[in-house]
């Protein structure tokens, strides 16, 4: 029955009520509220329905839901672990942490490498030398236009196809490349490195405080004290001083062939190297494009104006081009960093023990499919948001300040 019919069929005192009802129906706020309640209700009902189904299914399989399984013994081995020692008798929680560290390790190193690759090739592409710019263009197009997973799988095939350790390739300097991975010499452990690391942290903190102080002086007096050299002393000098005082160790652990494999030094597994190459080269191609468009976004007039003011080439880069290009470059670069960290999950195909790999083994062994996947998603969300937040802070530092 429509409202009009409703109004007609009721007694003479009713029209006022019908009008009020009609006003209610045609009131946008009311309609919006009703629509939103319906949508929210539908979403909540859908989730409740799905969760209900899942808990019935899990009960039927005799799997108690909850994260209790994390404290059980994992019972599977993990090929590589950094910082945390791990053995199959450790808990699932520890295995998860090892996977997380492996994800973070490869992501961080690949982010640094991708940034350097992107800078080099982005600037090469802007070079007036046609050979250099065409080479860079070729690299960018080739790596951007093929799937990242294909690249990772390819690098892994290359790594496992390398000669055995006895016939390892070596460019000299005790660096060996074999089907067991990349073996590098590494400084022998010594307390001095710990001290130097602590000094670096202290120096960085000092440099931040120093910059704050200089800004304060500038705000009060208009003179910016020159603290550039002092910052360098704090960040570079202090750690070196700490290292020297603590004994200045220079000994390196050199890898040596023992039996069928190398001992000593540090070994980067074939899985790690393949994943690292796949992540760094793919993202590097995207960052190269960002660098190019960033520099191109600064008008030619700016460079010409700077030159006519007598600025040197390095001053033009340092004072005119880079500060303005950075503003354009940082937001898309942040996006690339986030997507690199997420792409590290492709590791599961080649068996690098990352977050996905460990979670996958865990859910296969325990049947806690939902918990393991939710935990994994939450951690990836946390990683993505952390990178985005950190880059946002940096972006705010270099953004145009309007007062």
């Amino acid at each position: 029955m429509t409202i009009a019919q409703d109004a007609r069929s009721s007694s003479s005192s009713q029209p006022a009520r019908a009008r009020a009802l009609s006003r209610l129906v045609h009131d946008r706020r009311v309609r919006d509220a009703v629509l939103q309640i319906i949508v929210l209700g539908a979403v909540v009902a859908l989730i409740a329905y799905l969760v209900g189904n899942a808990s019935t299914a899990l009960k039927a399989r005799g799997i108690a839901s909850g994260f209790g399984y994390l404290s059980q013994e994992a019972g599977f081995g993990i090929g590589e672990s950094l910082f945390l020692t791990y053995s199959p008798s450790d808990t699932y929680l520890r295995a998860f942490a090892v996977g997380l560290i492996n994800t973070l390790r490869v992501s961080m190193l690949a982010i640094i490498a991708a940034t350097l690759i992107g800078l080099v090739f982005g600037l090469m592409r802007l070079s007036s030398n046609l050979g250099a710019s065409k080479l860079a263009a070729g690299y960018v197009e080739l790596f951007r236009n093929t799937p990242q997973l294909l690249q990772i799988v390819f690098w892994y095939a290359v790594m496992t196809d390398l000669p055995r350790p006895r016939q390892a390739l070596s460019p000299g300097g005790d660096i060996y490349l074999s089907n067991r991975g990349l073996i590098l010499p590494w400084p022998a452990p010594h307390a001095a490195y710990l001290w130097a690391f602590a000094a670096l942290a202290a120096g960085a903190l000092g440099a931040i405080l120093l910059t704050r102080w200089a800004r304060g002086v500038q705000a009060r007096t208009g003179e910016l004290p020159n603290v550039t050299h002092w910052r360098t002393v704090l960040i570079v000098g202090l750690p070196m001083l700490a290292w020297a005082i603590a004994g200045a160790p220079t000994e390196f652990e050199r890898p040596a062939l023992r039996g069928f494999n190398f001992t000593g030094g540090v070994t980067l597994s074939p899985e790690f190297v393949a994943l690292f190459l796949g992540l760094a080269l793919y993202t590097g191609a995207f960052i190269a494009e960002i660098v190019r468009s960033g520099v191109e976004s600064v008008g030619r007039g700016q460079v010409e104006a700077a030159r006519s003011l007598g600025l040197s080439q390095s001053q033009i880069y340092r004072l005119v081009l880079i500060p303005q290009a950075l503003r354009v470059m940082i937001p898309p670069t942040a996006g690339q960093y986030v997507s690199l960290a997420k792409s590290s999950s492709l590791a599961v195909v080649i068996g690098y023990p990352d977050l996905v790999n460990v979670s996958n083994t865990t859910l296969n062994q325990t049947g806690h499919v939902v918990e393991a996947l939710v935990l994994m998603s939450a951690v990836y969300l946390l990683i993505s948001f952390s990178i985005a937040a950190a880059m946002n802070l940096y972006n705010r530092a270099v953004a145009i300040k309007e007062r």
Binding site: N145, L150, S345, L346, V349, L363
Partner: protein, 365 residues
């Protein structure tokens, strides 16, 4: 200063900056640094190019079914492609029926090519897509006119990649537009739900979503209901694509001046009419280039299906290389499919750039 009596010396005309030698001078030897760079690169080229050409063309084996012949040759073994192309391109699809896959791919490629012609962007094109997809699906499934029925678990290779790709775009685009409208909506609950969905999906890897589709989705269904694994993967791909494309569409929605909304409202145009007849036609035109980038990424992302055991183009190739006789020729096999992916993605991105230039200049429209 009196300059009237002075005559400047007559300078010779500037050297013509055209011609081959001028091109070489400006492009390769404009400065000392540039010259050194050119010489270094030339040296590297001289050292690496001849062995590469010898490996790829002169000493290579193009056609043989005997891996021993390849092992004796010092060059590339392109014969691995000749020998294994059926598995690489069609996966586990029945050997005798693979001509159907060829037709499916041809049909899809023809439709995609037709879609790049802007004159043809009409409702007819949409109908052609619906009809084409129906024919392609019928061909791929079979089960009529004496065509053998083929289950989705047997699908593989390039036809599978194309189906998932087209399905992702077809399912993801409307969802993306809805999400973008939701995120721009002034209704707080709708806005929060859309934003929450978009940010969550964009914060987790595709691998993660596919794992959920493969492992978690069946748990969430009532007892006895079982969705096809390929369909579940397709849903995962759509969810992922929609979250990213929604952000591209939102960019277009934000670029429409407020006055357009206000003019529509003051004329008493309803929300849906305003959205579909005024805002979206303008907004979508602006965001075609970023959407093409999303589409390219969706094509590359089909390769991730390998992770849940779906044999797409990459999966088919990895399966083909499991043959111990041929596994050592992975470089040749991966290069071959890399070229296939590259041709598709590169031409799409060139097309996107051309389109962007055209739309920016405002000509033709």
């Amino acid at each position: 200063m009196q300059a009237s009596g002075m005559t400047a010396p007559r300078l010779p005309p500037a050297k013509a900056a055209t011609g081959f030698w001028s091109w070489v001078r400006v492009g390769f030897f404009s400065s000392t640094g540039s010259s050194i760079l050119t010489l270094v690169m030339a040296a590297i080229l001289v050292v690496t190019l001849p062995p590469l050409v010898r490996w790829a063309f002169l000493d290579s084996i193009w056609q043989t079914d005997d891996p021993a012949i390849c092992r004796e040759a010092s060059g590339a073994c392109w014969a691995v492609v000749a020998e294994k192309h059926r598995v690489m391109l069609f996966g586990t699809y029945p050997y005798e029926q693979q001509w159907r896959g060829v037709l499916v791919v041809a049909l899809m490629v023809a439709l995609i090519l037709a879609s790049t012609v802007r004159r043809w962007w009409t409702p007819k094109l949409l109908m052609a897509w619906v009809a084409g997809l129906a024919v392609a699906l019928a061909l791929q499934f079979g089960g009529f006119l004496g065509l053998e029925f083929v289950q989705t678990t047997m699908w593989g290779g390039l036809p599978l990649t194309m189906f998932i790709f087209v399905g992702t775009i077809a399912g993801g685009m409307p969802f993306a537009v809805l999400l973008a409208l939701g995120r721009q909506s002034d209704m707080p609950i709708i806005q929060k739900l859309s934003a929450g969905y978009i940010e969550t999906i964009r914060g987790i890897p595709l691998v993660n979503i596919l794992f959920m589709a493969a492992l978690m989705f069946p748990l969430f269904m009532p007892e006895g209901v079982n969705f096809d694994k390929l369909l579940r993967a397709q849903v995962g791909m759509i969810m992922f694509f929609a979250a990213y494309t929604a952000e591209s569409v939102r960019g277009g929605l934000q670029a429409i001046p407020r006055g357009q909304y206000e003019a529509a409202d003051s004329l008493g145009v309803s929300y849906w009419d305003r959205t579909f007849k005024i805002v979206l036609p303008q907004a979508l035109r602006i965001v075609i280039p970023p959407i093409v980038n999303d589409v390219i990424r969706a094509f590359k992302n089909t390769s991730v299906l390998v992770i849940i055991g779906v044999l797409d183009l990459l999966g088919g190739t990895m399966a083909a290389l499991e043959d111990p006789e041929w596994t050592r020729y992975y470089v040749e096999a991966y290069l071959f499919i890399a070229i296939l992916y590259f041709v598709f993605c590169f031409s799409m991105s060139q097309y996107s750039q051309k389109l962007e230039a055209e739309l920016k200049s405002g000509r033709n429209y």
